[in-house]
């Protein structure tokens, strides 16, 4: 079971650190990260393994969302199934 975390917004110090910090707290392993910074805009997509999650996935989603609000970023945490089903026949 995997999930996708996307972070979009203005670049600041420690975004990756804070997001991966929450992942570690929930025992969620980061599998892959792709990120780009265009001028001062930061865009990151993180693929994480949630099969060993030590809590409720919805709590993780809430934590990520509130981190986004705190940092002024848009953070979405979604189960990978939605992308797989939408974009493949």
């Amino acid at each position: 079971m995997r999930a996708v975390v996307t972070v979009i917004g203005k670049d600041t110090v420690g975004i990756l650190h804070k997001v991966s910090g929450i992942c570690a707290e929930f025992n969620v392993n980061v599998i892959e990260v792709t990120q780009s910074v265009l001028q001062d805009m930061f865009a990151m997509i993180m693929l994480v393994d949630i099969s060993g999650i030590n809590g409720d996935f919805s709590v993780l989603v809430d934590r990520m969302t509130s981190l986004g609000t705190e940092l002024g970023l848009s953070i979405h945490t979604m189960h990978e199934d939605i992308f797989n089903s939408m974009h493949s026949v």
């Binding site: 809430d62 979604m78 189960h79 939605i82």
Partner: protein, 452 residues
């Protein structure tokens, strides 16, 4: 395989283009709740609904979190209540409406549909009492929806029922005149009603359906409009292809959510309804899709052709994306619930006549149309008869949801708020249809061959 472009496209659809799951609707059969003692029957109805649907809202919320996709409504449809009312001939069926309201409150759903009767060929026990009680039922409850099927391609149109429904719509508006005539906004008159429709106000759980099942209604006019906007110079068949691809993606999401809900609730998965359901929100309008195709305003010449193409392409794209498609499936054109339709109606570009033509090629019918408060019941019946005739002859579902704006005239507006939106009072013809309506009887079923 996951790729960055696809991930960002999905997020953009949800965040910027109003993509959502419009409704998860649990269909529940109440046939085993029939009892000659109406109080016992109501208790059974309440208990069965609460037992089956207790977790519907929490499960919906869990799926929203899991997939990051908003699920706007969680709803329930039930067996047409006229069938339960038939066993208690001396009691008012409004008791059932109140029991349904209690169940809606307990489960936290925003609508229960099925205060309904199917009278396309004639009235059986319970039907007349239920129909006569509709204005009171819609007045004393908030979250109950009612529908009556008055015609079908196989049986013709029951003109006695059409006459009565004109009176019921008017009476329902009068009883709720102090609340912007909200009564008839919860009442649909159908021809060829479908048994697995997840959308309100016309949802009911047909007798051919299983005991309990989950249906999903998807939405996404904003996504389709945005996809078309990227191809300003494409030909019409290229546009049709773009719509098909977009509808596929939208429907896949409905299929995923439905399958997950079915698994979590341990209830069989019914159907995905592939509809483009607009809301009054900016960027969530079917009219704006038609305008994106090249119409200056929805309702002008060419609107019917654009809508026909849109409706067909949505179905073609969606059918392959889902294991079982059903319900109403197509584009909805409810005037008060669509920002572009409201503008077109206010500007006078969109008339009742054009809407009627549009219903011949799209999903449902004359939906959420506000008419002057002094409209006669016979005129309402005549509008219903016209619309039912289109459905009957073309073997499709048509419906009428008219709201007589009591005390208001052409040019004024009714404000319902929320998803129901607001609607300008639209002009109607001032010549009478009373003699035709008062004849009663039945329009015979149409020929199914020699189609010209």
């Amino acid at each position: 395989m996951l790729n960055v472009y696809n991930i960002l496209e999905t997020i953009r659809m949800i965040q910027d283009e109003c993509l959502d799951i419009r409704t998860i609707t649990m269909g529940i059969s109440l046939l085993d709740c029939i009892d000659t003692d109406i109080d016992k029957a109501c208790e059974k109805v309440y208990n069965k609904i609460v037992d089956r649907a207790r977790n519907l809202v929490p499960v919906g919320q869990q799926i929203e979190k899991e997939y990051g996709i908003p699920i706007i409504n969680k709803r329930i449809s039930v067996t047409p209540i006229a069938m339960l009312a038939a066993a208690c001939p001396n009691e008012s069926p409004v008791k059932f409406a109140k029991a349904l309201q209690r169940a809606a409150d307990t489960c936290g759903v925003n609508f229960i549909g099925g205060y309904s009767a199917l009278v396309h060929k004639g009235f059986s026990a319970g039907d007349m009492a239920l129909i006569r009680s509709i204005p009171e039922a819609l007045d004393v409850t908030q979250n109950i929806c009612s529908s009556v099927n008055i015609g079908s391609t196989k049986s013709g149109i029951n003109m006695d029922a059409v006459k009565i429904m004109g009176e019921i719509v008017k009476e329902s508006a009068e009883r709720t005149a102090d609340r912007d005539c909200i009564g008839p906004a919860k009442l649909v008159v159908f021809c060829n009603a479908v048994e697995d429709n997840p959308f309100m106000a016309g949802a009911f759980h047909g007798v051919g359906e299983p005991d309990c099942e989950i249906h999903v209604g998807v939405s996404g006019p904003g996504v389709v409009r945005a996809a078309l906007a990227k191809h300003p110079d494409a030909s019409i068949n290229e546009l049709a292809d773009i719509i098909k691809k977009t509808a596929f993606k939208i429907t896949r999401m409905g299929q995923l959510v439905g399958a997950r809900a079915s698994e979590l609730l341990n209830v069989p998965f019914g159907i995905v309804d592939l509809s483009l359901a607009p809301t009054p929100a900016i960027g969530d309008s079917v009219a704006h899709i038609l305008e994106e195709m090249g119409l200056e305003q929805c309702g002008t010449h060419g609107t019917t052709a654009c809508l026909a193409m849109l409706n067909d392409a949505v179905k073609k794209g969606g059918v392959m994306a889902s294991s079982t498609v059903g319900g109403l499936s197509g584009a909805f054109i409810p005037v008060s619930e669509d920002a572009g339709m409201i503008d077109a109606a206010v500007a006078g570009t969109l008339s009742l006549e054009k809407l009627e033509a549009m219903t011949a090629v799209c999903s449902v019918g004359l939906d959420m149309i506000v008419v002057p408060g002094d409209i006669t019941p016979e005129t309402i019946s005549a509008i219903i008869a016209d619309e039912a005739a289109i459905g009957m002859v073309n073997s499709k579902t048509t419906a009428v949801r008219l709201i007589p704006a009591v005390g208001r005239k052409e040019g004024e507006t009714l404000e319902f708020g929320g998803l129901l939106g607001s609607g300008p009072v639209m002009p109607i013809k001032d010549k009478s249809s009373a003699k035709f309506i008062n004849r009663g009887g039945r329009i015979p079923a149409p020929m199914q061959s020699l189609k010209n």
